[in-house]
């Protein structure tokens, strides 16, 4: 055991917080991610994380907790994307891209002003890549509350969301308010992505959102099983990632530690590639089995 868990792993306060919060984030991201992948909104999911970055740097600039900055910008951008037409199949990615471009411009400005006035050059790096071991315990309740909110939204909406993801026309015919459901889902996505952005950094939160869900959708049969599998993969990746990052303080180049995000991403992408090893099924058969959003939502 001593070779796996370096001394002090179980008694370290920051590790406890990282493990607890990481678990919550992994579960939330994975559950929300299953719908993100099904709906083909990976780009929106990633963009919301990047946009939350802007909020983080803005909050840094005016000196409030970054978490509120992430949340405010994420939710705002989700509302804006919804407004300018993320629902329309054609041009959805373009609308996402334009919002993202504008937000990144703002991020450049915030970071410039921030480094101008307080001369902390490391700030841009922390905001982009996050730092698991610097979560303060005062932000934990807020983190948990938002995670539960996002999770509850998706769980409550699960059935109508699945239907309107797979077949918007049938859903609309059955009286499901497709647009409202999509908007509520986008909000949940924004909140869960903002959370992940605090933990492993805005850019890499995409890994936790898309990776476990995409892997689960390849191996699991049925949506419920896929959600459970995705959550399991996400939690496993973040736990092993934290253990390895903690151990890596003793690895070369010594005394620096390797980033948690590197381990988590490698584990998640590795897990996804493992599903490729399963016996080959012709792509057409896979598509026929699961008439997923690619057919339903792809631009004509």
């Amino acid at each position: 055991m001593r070779y796996i868990f370096e001394p002090g792993f179980f008694s370290s306060g920051p590790v406890h917080i990282a493990l607890a919060v990481g678990t919550v984030i992994a579960v939330t991201s994975a559950v929300v991610g299953v719908f993100t992948v099904t709906r083909g909104q990976s780009f929106a999911g990633h963009s919301l994380a990047d946009i939350a970055t802007t909020g983080g740097s803005g909050a840094f600039l005016i000196g409030i907790n970054q978490f509120w900055g992430y949340l405010a910008f994420g939710a705002g951008a989700a509302a804006f994307m919804e407004m300018i037409g993320i629902q329309r199949r054609r041009g959805r990615d373009v609308a996402t891209g334009v919002v993202l471009g504008a937000a990144l411009g703002l991020a450049a400005l915030f970071l410039y002003l921030g480094t101008e006035f307080s001369s902390t050059t490391g700030a841009s790096f922390t905001i982009l890549f996050g730092s698991m071991f610097v979560i303060t315990s005062s932000t934990v309740p807020a983190l948990l509350a938002s995670a539960l909110l996002a999770l509850a939204t998706v769980v409550v909406l699960a059935r109508v969301l699945l239907l309107s993801s797979l077949s918007p026309d049938i859903a609309a015919a059955r009286g499901v308010p497709v647009r409202a459901v999509g908007a509520a889902y986008l909000m949940a996505l924004a909140v869960s992505v903002a959370l992940a952005a605090v933990i492993i950094g805005a850019v890499l939160s995409t890994a936790l959102l898309i990776g476990p869900a995409a892997t689960a959708l390849r191996v699991a049969k049925g949506p419920v099983l896929a959600i459970v599998t995705a959550a399991g993969i996400g939690v496993a990746a973040i736990w092993i990632g934290i253990v390895l990052a903690y151990d890596s303080f003793y690895w070369p180049p010594s005394g620096r530690g390797w980033p948690v995000s590197f381990f988590v991403v490698t584990l998640i992408v590795g897990g996804y590639l493992l599903t490729y090893l399963r016996r080959d099924r012709p792509a057409a058969a896979v598509a026929a089995e699961r008439p997923d959003a690619e057919q339903v939502c792809s631009p004509a």
Binding site: T96, L106, F125, A207, I268, V269
Partner: protein, 269 residues
């Protein structure tokens, strides 16, 4: 404003805007917006690796952007395109995070690569930018018709024997090439804004492909030139002006398209 080092800036920025307009037009047409975001951003990890090994940043950018293009195209064979893009992208960034954590003095440089250093273009940088830019434009001109067909009507293109996969790979490689030349100048984030904003606006303004592409180049040029002029005066980052102006042009284009649609078909609204 037009002397010495600033002359390099104007030349480099003009070349970048032309490339961004041309590749951006196809990125928007094909719906490859996510790849347009992922390749420049992920390539930044390559620059971090190159600086760690003491190599030229161009080499690292080229290796990682081409690797990213191959990764996206390879994974797409058996995965959804957006999932393939997302996973390739996060893998590149994960490696980038590792490189940056190993290097001691990288934070400032990372900022420059993400947000650009357009005012620090040396005379030695201008030539490779122009050469690579010319190669990209030439590649797009050679592929223009098949690429347009496979972007606008993939089924028809397949029926005529044009492999969609191969066209996708070719286009991603051109984008990778464009990326490795533009990222050191305008930054990964800016390159994306410059590809998508003007092209999306141009497409909303006209449906004719060649006109739309020309318009995208013109809008990109206007954006960059105005941005540099204001940025020179205020010292605020160029990325801010390009990002915001791209979005403004897009909204203007959308508004115009909406207006035109209302005028042509008032009954369908």
């Amino acid at each position: 404003m037009f002397s010495g080092l600033m002359l390099n800036t104007w030349i480099a920025a003009t070349a970048v805007a032309v490339i961004a307009g041309v590749t951006g037009f196809f990125a928007v047409l094909r719906g490859s917006t996510f790849a347009a975001h992922a390749i420049p951003n992920g390539a930044f990890a390559g620059a971090a690796g190159a600086s760690l090994l003491g190599l030229n940043a161009f080499a690292g950018l080229a290796v990682f952007s081409v690797g990213g293009a191959l990764g996206i195209a390879g994974l797409s064979r058996r995965s959804r395109h957006d999932v393939a893009t997302a996973l390739t992208f996060v893998m590149m960034l994960g490696i980038g995070a590792l490189f940056v954590s190993w290097s001691t003095e990288y934070a400032q440089e990372a900022y420059a690569l993400l947000f650009g250093e357009v005012f620090g273009v040396s005379t030695g940088d201008v030539l490779p930018i122009l050469v690579l830019g010319a190669v990209c434009i030439a590649a797009i001109i050679v592929m223009f018709r098949p690429l347009l067909l496979s972007s606008a009507m993939p089924e028809v293109a397949e029926a005529r024997g044009l492999s969609a996969r191969r066209m996708d790979l070719a286009f991603l490689l051109v984008m990778a090439l464009a990326t490795s030349m533009t990222v050191p100048v305008v930054g990964a984030l800016l390159m994306f804004s410059l590809m998508i904003g003007p092209a999306a606006a141009a497409r909303a303004l006209t449906a004719r492909p060649f006109l739309a592409m020309t318009l995208a180049v013109v809008i990109a040029l206007v954006t960059v030139w105005t941005g540099i002029a204001i940025s020179y005066g205020t010292n605020w980052p160029l990325g801010f002006f390009v990002g915001v102006m791209g979005a403004a042009f897009f909204l203007f284009g959308q508004g115009y398209a909406l207006l035109r649609r209302h005028r042509v078909r008032p009954e369908t609204g």
